[in-house]
């Protein structure tokens, strides 16, 4: 889903007063667009310590049954904190150049 850039701006009469925004509007803003590096997750070496999930600033690491399940690329900005935090050798999460995934 692309970020809307041609939204019609609301006038003061219809605008919600008191600087109120609807909750959860950040869900519509796919910051995954910002990536220049992509985290690649290798399930075989993962020990499910959940450090990547704890440290991810965008809550982009998804877990299921206390196991790392996938990385949500709609929101992952490619900061690489997950890769740095990963304790396994070889690393379970490795940062790769985003360009090689362009379709």
């Amino acid at each position: 889903m692309r970020l809307k850039t041609n939204v019609k701006k609301i006038g003061w009469k219809k605008l919600a007063a008191g600087d109120i925004l609807e909750a959860g509007s950040a869900l519509n803003y796919h910051t995954g667009n910002w990536r220049s590096r992509r985290p690649v997750f290798e399930k075989k070496t993962c020990i499910n310590c959940l450090k990547c999930w704890i440290f991810c600033p965008d809550a982009a690491i998804r877990i299921k049954n206390k196991k790392v399940f996938k990385i949500d690329l709609r929101y992952c900005k490619g900061c690489g904190i997950c890769a740095v935090a990963c304790p396994t050798n070889p690393k379970t999460i490795v940062m790769k150049n985003e360009n090689q995934f362009k379709s």
């Binding site: 003061w12 007063a17 600087d19």
Partner: protein, 384 residues
């Protein structure tokens, strides 16, 4: 009761959910008395002993945004310390009512009455009511709840009382029954509040230049809307109290030739001076400004249009090379009149300097004889 005691009594009857406060002379008594009521279980309020006035108002803002009646109380430096939060409370459209016991802003440090504190925050977007005496303080406070919480307003209100002069002086007043106050203010039912989990939203976000102006325009409209609401609430208040309030109080203005414009306890003293001079044939009158924000420009223009000489009395100096705040706003309100009165300014009473009946009489006597005004801005009662 003293002014502070009357505010605490009004607060007891209103029974707000949250009171967050920090002490400062001469407003401390309000919270002292109210805290005792909380400790005795006479009110349901949750008390937050904040570490500063900035925190106190911040806590009140949080509580009000969460969806309950929240209050704080302060004066002078305390009001100045919470300055940024004043703008935030107004911008977030939270109906917080706050008593301010007018006290001079430092420096030099002074704990006595002048209006520099609330005048210094006159553009923060809060409504401002000034009280002449303890009765008005009590009455203004109760009306303020209803005005602030009105859905077309949703702006915070400062109820000002003169520090020490009103806050600490014992005066007679009539209070309403607990039941009457409860019915008058009703239950606080905000349309949107943060603890409403069924309708979640974010409050206090960021605006770029594409939306900030629209939000401010809304605030401006709310202040405009408050004019009509203030009048309606005064009508309703008269029904339960027998006391009628307006934006101004016009005293001896029907046939006045010269007039004073003033705020607060000064007006009580001025009324005595005017009575004395009328016995001597000087037709003087007084316009007391009760509602300063929203600024009642129409009412002021109407009250003063037949007067030839107006002396605006300021208990604070804007230090701007052109007089005090009330003077500048009154003068501006009169500008559009076809026949403009001469408007001059007297700055008096700074730092609690007393103003006497005699001093006011002398001013009026001089003005009654004056043909040509030599100085527009004057200082009354200062040693040269």
């Amino acid at each position: 009761m003293s002014g502070d005691e009357a505010v605490a009594e009004a607060m007891r009857q209103i029974n707000p959910d949250v009171v967050a406060a920090y002490p400062i002379t001469p407003a401390t008594e309000i919270i002292n008395i109210f805290s005792k009521l909380i400790a005795e279980g006479k009110v349901k309020s949750e008390f937050i002993a904040a570490e500063s006035e900035h925190s106190a108002l911040s806590a009140a803002i949080g509580a009000s945004a969460a969806g309950v009646r929240a209050m704080t109380a302060t004066a002078s430096q305390g009001l100045a310390l919470m300055h940024e939060m004043l703008y935030i409370a107004a911008g977030l459209r939270l109906p917080i009512v706050m008593p301010v016991a007018n006290r001079a802003l430092s420096s030099p440090i002074n704990i006595h009455c002048d209006h520099s504190d609330t005048m210094g925050s006159r553009d923060a977007g809060w409504l401002q009511f000034y009280s002449e005496n303890v009765q008005e303080t009590y009455d203004n406070f109760i009306q303020a709840i209803k005005i602030s919480e009105h859905p077309d307003v949703l702006l915070p209100t400062i109820v000002a009382l003169d520090g020490f002069i009103t806050s600490h002086s014992m005066q007679n007043l009539k209070i309403l029954s607990d039941h009457a106050v409860k019915i008058f203010i009703g239950e606080y039912k905000p349309k949107r509040f943060l603890l409403d989990l069924k309708h979640p939203y974010s409050l206090g976000g960021f605006d770029l230049s594409d939306y900030f102006f629209e939000h401010k325009r809304q605030q401006s409209q709310a202040m405009k809307n408050s004019v009509g609401i203030i009048a309606k609430v005064a009508e309703k208040f008269e029904k339960i109290s027998g006391r009628r309030y307006g934006f101004l109080e016009e005293y001896a203005m029907e046939d006045a030739q010269i007039a004073l414009v003033g705020i607060g306890s000064f007006c009580g003293v001025a009324k005595v001076a005017i009575e004395n001079l009328r016995e001597k044939g000087i037709k003087a009158g007084l316009v007391k400004v009760r509602v300063f924000r929203p600024f009642p420009y129409k009412e002021i223009s109407s009250a003063l249009r037949k007067i030839s000489l107006v002396a605006v009395m300021d208990r604070s100096d804007s230090l701007n090379n052109f007089g005090g705040p009330l003077f500048n706003e009154v003068r501006s309100a009169l500008y559009d009149l076809a026949e403009r009165p001469t408007v001059i300014n007297y700055i008096y009473g700074l730092g609690g300097r007393d103003i006497s009946v005699k001093e006011i009489e002398n001013v009026l006597k001089k003005l009654a004889k004056t043909k040509i005004i030599k100085k527009i801005v004057n200082y009354l009662g200062v040693r040269e």
